[in-house]
Amino acid sequence: MAEADPRHTHQLDQQQEIDVAALHEPILRELRDPQDGHEPIPMFMLMLFAGLIFWGGYYLAAYSGGFRSDVLNPDPAAQFAGGSAAPKVVDPLVLGEKLFKANCVSCHQASGQGVPGQYPPLAGSEWVLGPDYRLKRILLKGLEGPVSVKGATYNGNMPAFEAKFNDEKLAAVLSFIRHGWENGAPPVSPESAAATRAAVKDRGQPWKAEELLALEKDDLATPAEGAPAPEGAKTEPAAKTEAGKTP
């Protein structure tokens, strides 16, 4: 066929042939098909690649968590340190405020004023400002029946937080309400909260106000074995009387 005739190269310039030539001009003017040169691979590149492969082996060994399916953290330090990293220090007042906002504000209000006639105030309350052993017991076991606060009588139910708060949280929220709203009472330590928790752990029902008022000191009838001496508690450890026992 004419268009396949190799003599029709693109240098052909006869006017009358242009249509035929132009039809396959792209094919005719093509340069030769690609061929391979045989230059050697540069040595520096091979060195670079060898270095990369060494690095790859090291990285794979160092950050693969022993190829275990249950290890997600690639950092060996974090992986094998276990729980030995220093625990984060939390400001009890910050923690207490957070807990207060999550658990207490709906009744006692952010202002600490409570709701007149329904929920007693915490700000300026003699129960909050006074000795902390009543306060700890209220928070642990709850309070029911009439109670007089700042001259007004309330009759509601304060729920128990024994199961919800650990000692640290218990101390934090108490320290917060004793510190906040210009109350200015001293904080409660987690150790003293722990001691009280241990002392009242067998009690089943909430406190009544008169029971607590009858309590003259932080009566640790059954202290936990080996528990550190409660510093904040205004009592001597020797006083193990029957006074605090549940009737």
């Binding site: 066929m1 268009e3 396949a4 005739d5 190799p6 190269t9 693109h10 240098q11 242009i18 132009a22 039809l23 396959h24 001009e25 792209p26 094919i27 005719l28 003017r29 093509e30 340069l31 030769r32 098909d33 690609p34 061929q35 391979d36 040169g37 045989h38 230059e39 050697p40 691979i41 540069p42 590149m45 670079l48 690649f49 990369l52 492969i53 690095w55 790859g56 990285y59 794979l60 950050y63 693969s64 968590g65 022993g66 190829f67 275990r68 399916s69 249950d70 290890v71 997600l72 953290n73 690639p74």
Partner: protein, 526 residues
């Protein structure tokens, strides 16, 4: 120009025969690909506008962001890129095997199945039937259609290869032959494990990203590289620099790429070794990439002035350089310390487009500038439209990449405890001090920036990205017009190769002769 006739006598005639056999199926694939390119660009623009004007077309569920964005992804991946890739693959395969395409009508059927699958899938996504798995949003029936279309392509490629009459298997063929197996392997595996018999839990994500990342590296990259390996030496008429580099580049790609996908799951609840292995695989990709880059660079070395004239060459060299950049960037981005701040930001979108657009799409444009005139027997009709095409897409892409990268880095730093938003700091301290205070804030981990401030900070970059989308659309429209004119023989017939500037024809000839001046008959193939 006597070099044509001396190799095996009738090779020129054979070329004409091969091109004639490929003409119909390849043009059908190319024409469809341009249709899907325009559709995909349209969806992309819609999605881009919605990012800064969310109320735009928000009342019509078909065009909500959650649907146009996957519609964009799937039409450009399976419609534009795959169809343009298949046409290029078929033509290159036939040319390199030196045999005409047998039963070309069957490949028109394949194109029909593929188009049907795309239509079903895209309409399915717009109607809300997306599977919700990234890169695989097409509902099940579409996947069957795509797979049957592709089965024909694989069979035909294998048959063509089996009948090859060239004594030497050129590097492009290695990539093409691998790609026609890699793609169905990926697609079938992922359909089985995620759609038909879905695995549960973490392996889902691993398989999803194994697939999505491998489609880039084991389907699009091989075709793009095969086209560059063929066209670069073909256009300038010089041999490829080193056969040994070709071998090293091919086998290291095959060895390492498959590992890279899981770096998308950095910081995810995935066993550490999977992510670490993928980081190593990603970094090892430096080997094939540097190898291929050196091979291409040394082939063109000393002849860069040819880029001034030849559209094919300029587009594919743009693509080849982007391949190097995107791959090295990808290796770096896989590291945990870079991946953690920047992964879920607009920067990743910029990176993805550097690969799929700047590398693959530009390479396909270059290939079409070379191949289509040989299929239709007509030159491109307008140098001006080629210029509009090139500058539209080159500037449009550059703008998009810059916007998404800068905006994404700022977004990433703000999301990761920069303390104050860059916008605020610049308003307060001016540009230089504002930026340095911003970086200091990130280093000191000063705390989270309010989310809405972060979103607000990205708006400028997202609006500029829409502008870049308009430039890209203009380029694509110019190319579509060129294609229609070529196929339908509209307009004045162009004599001689269509260069960027018609008046440069003589200079181009001279430059080409110079490029080949040092070749002896032995190594020039004359």
């Amino acid at each position: 120009m006597n070099q044509l006739e001396q190799d095996q006598g009738g090779w020129t005639a054979r070329r004409a025969e091969i091109d004639r056999s490929c003409a119909t199926p390849c043009l059908v694939f190319y024409a469809s690909s341009i249709f899907w390119l325009l559709a995909g660009t349209f969806f992309a623009l819609l999605a881009s506008v919605k990012l800064h004007h969310p109320e735009f077309l928000a009342d019509w569920s078909w065009l909500t962001f959650g649907r146009v964005r996957p519609a964009h992804l799937n039409t450009v991946i399976y419609g534009w890129a795959s169809m343009a890739g298949i046409a290029t693959l078929l033509w290159l395969m036939c040319r390199l095997c030196r045999v005409p395409l047998m039963y070309p009508a069957m490949l028109v059927v394949a194109a029909g199945l593929w188009n049907l699958g795309l239509t079903v899938g895209t309409v399915g996504i717009l109607m809300g039937y997306s599977t919700g798995i990234e890169w695989l949003e097409f509902p099940m029936p579409a996947a069957f259609l795509l797979f049957s279309g592709f089965a024909i392509v694989t069979l035909w490629s294998v048959a063509t290869f089996a009948q090859r009459q060239a004594e030497h298997v050129y590097v492009s063929q290695w990539y093409l032959f691998a790609a026609v197996f890699w793609f169905p392997w990926l697609y079938v595996t992922v359909q089985l494990l995620l759609m038909l018999f879905p695995v549960k839990g973490i392996p889902q994500a691993c398989i999803n990203w194994w697939f999505a990342h491998n489609v880039l590296g084991l389907w699009f990259s091989p075709i793009g590289l095969a086209a560059i390996y063929y066209l670069l030496p073909k256009v300038i008429g010089r041999p490829i620099y080193s056969y040994y580099l070709s071998i090293l580049g091919f086998w290291t790609l095959a060895l390492f790429y498959n590992w890279a996908g899981a770096h998308h799951l950095v910081s995810g609840p995935v066993p550490a070794w999977i992510v670490t292995a993928s980081i190593v695989g990603s970094v090892m990709m430096i080997i094939p990439v540097v190898t291929v880059a050196l091979n291409h660079h040394m082939t063109l070395h000393g002849n860069f002035r040819l880029l001034k004239y030849s559209p094919t060459l300029r587009f594919i060299v743009f693509g080849a350089m982007s391949y190097t950049i995107v791959s090295l960037e990808g290796s770096m981005m896989s590291f945990r310390f870079l991946n953690e701040p920047f992964h879920f930001t607009h920067r990743t979108i910029g990176h993805a487009h550097l690969g799929m657009y700047s590398f693959f799409t530009m390479t396909m444009f270059g290939s079409m500038y070379y191949i289509v005139p040989r299929l239709t027997g007509r030159e491109w009709h307008s140098a001006r439209l080629i210029r509009i095409h090139f500058w539209g897409v080159a500037l449009g892409f550059a703008l998009m990449y810059l916007c998404l990268s800068i905006g994404g880095v700022i977004q990433g730093l703000e999301l990761n405890q920069a303390g104050e938003s860059l916008e605020k700091l610049i308003a307060q301290f001016g540009y230089l001090d504002g930026i340095s205070k911003f970086v200091e804030g990130f280093k000191a981990q000063n705390g989270a920036v309010p989310f809405l401030e972060i979103v607000h900070g990205t708006l400028l970059w997202l609006k500029l990205r829409t502008v870049s989308g308009v430039l890209l659309l203009a380029g694509h429209a110019a190319f579509a017009v060129l294609m229609v004119m070529n196929v339908h023989a509209w307009g004045r017939r162009h004599i001689g190769p269509t260069l960027f500037h018609d008046e440069d024809a003589a200079d181009y000839d001279r430059a080409l002769r110079q490029a080949r001046a040092d070749l002896t008959p032995a190594n020039s193939g004359d």
